[in-house]
Amino acid sequence: MHELSIAASIVESVSEAAAAYPGARVKEVRLRVGALASVVEDALRFCWELATEETPLRGAALAIETLPVILHCEDCGAESAIETVQSFRCPRCGALAADLRQGREMEIASIELEEPEPSAAAPAST
């Protein structure tokens, strides 16, 4: 169960990035996670709530995009996604393929912030 460490790392990175936008609230954090990254989505969501509690990120949603494993086949040259991670064979020609082009990613792609309207910050006096 290393999802708590992962959630804590995300909180740290996102808090750092969000600090550049004073007054903004983080609405959503969008991740890209490879199918081979050994991250369990349910466990990560559970840990996300724990890790964000008592931080300014509390209540922020977590959007997780799972990226399939993409193999490059040295036999036929195809680059294709495989459906399971039980067999690393080229879906086109069936040869074993060791050249992984995608599937291990663990990335914070973007964050969505909610900012106060500039005019609301300085209301005009009547």
Binding site: M1, H2, S9, I108
Partner: protein
């Protein structure tokens, strides 16, 4: 309220990856071959490493080990009997080693100089999931599997086996009574990590150690 999207494209474990890259550069500059041994609890990592350290010492090679466990220094004491410098890392509940723990334990290791070493073995916490995400700056990641565990382990833990550079099958001296299907195990390893080197060993009888030691020597040179 307005909405703003900020692109980050930042690795979740960026801090660990940066630290690991620094360690890798340090290991390379010192000319030390670093291996990260990963398996389930009970595979026999410690017995295998004990034998490896002993045989390396007999060959006149200088090897050291960092050994990770949740608690106790039992493994470090066992390994130290080989005569090699050994240091225990207790993670106190954390299920994997990370680059920061390695850096910290290297820095505080009295009397150890990386320059004076040929090889450094890092025995990870017994776990086939979590260690796969954490780069420790190693050059070779070794996945170990014992004949008592079932031939489908690589299929169950593809994240770890696919990230490994070499596989070691341990306890082959008891393969027969365990009903271990060697061909099936080799096939499963191949399906998950095509082309990976596989060593079939017994720490008890010494079977397969020669090929493993030859591989280490070859990697040390390369």
């Amino acid at each position: 309220m307005t909405t703003r999207i900020v692109e980050l494209r930042r690795g979740i474990l960026k801090k660990n990856d940066e630290l690991a890259a620094g360690l890798r550069a340090r290991f390379q500059a010192a000319g030390v071959l670093v291996l990260n041994l990963v398996s389930s609890p009970g595979t026999g990592k410690t017995a295998f490493l004990e034998r490896t350290l002993r045989e390396l010492r007999a060959q006149g090679k200088r090897a050291a080990a960092l050994v990770g466990d949740l608690e106790t220094d039992n493994d470090a004491r066992r390994l130290a009997a080989s005569g090699a410098p050994v240091r225990q890392i207790n993670t106190h509940g954390i299920c994997h080693l990370d680059a920061e723990m390695i850096a910290k334990h290297l820095d505080g290791w009295e009397g150890l100089s990386l320059d004076a070493l040929d090889m450094l073995f890092i025995e990870n916490v017994g776990n086939l999931v979590c260690p796969s995400s954490y780069d420790l700056g190693e050059r070779i990641r070794v996945a170990l599997l014992s004949v008592t565990e079932g031939e489908d382990k690589p299929l169950k833990y593809p994240g770890l086996f696919n990230s490994a550079d070499a596989a070691v099958i341990t306890k082959i001296d008891i393969a027969e009574p365990c009903g271990f299907d060697r061909e099936l195990a080799l096939k499963n390893i191949r399906e998950i990590r095509p082309g990976m080197r596989v060593f079939e060993t017994s720490a008890k009888t010494g079977a397969g150690m020669e090929a493993w030691l030859a591989y280490l020597a070859e990697q040390r040179r390369g």
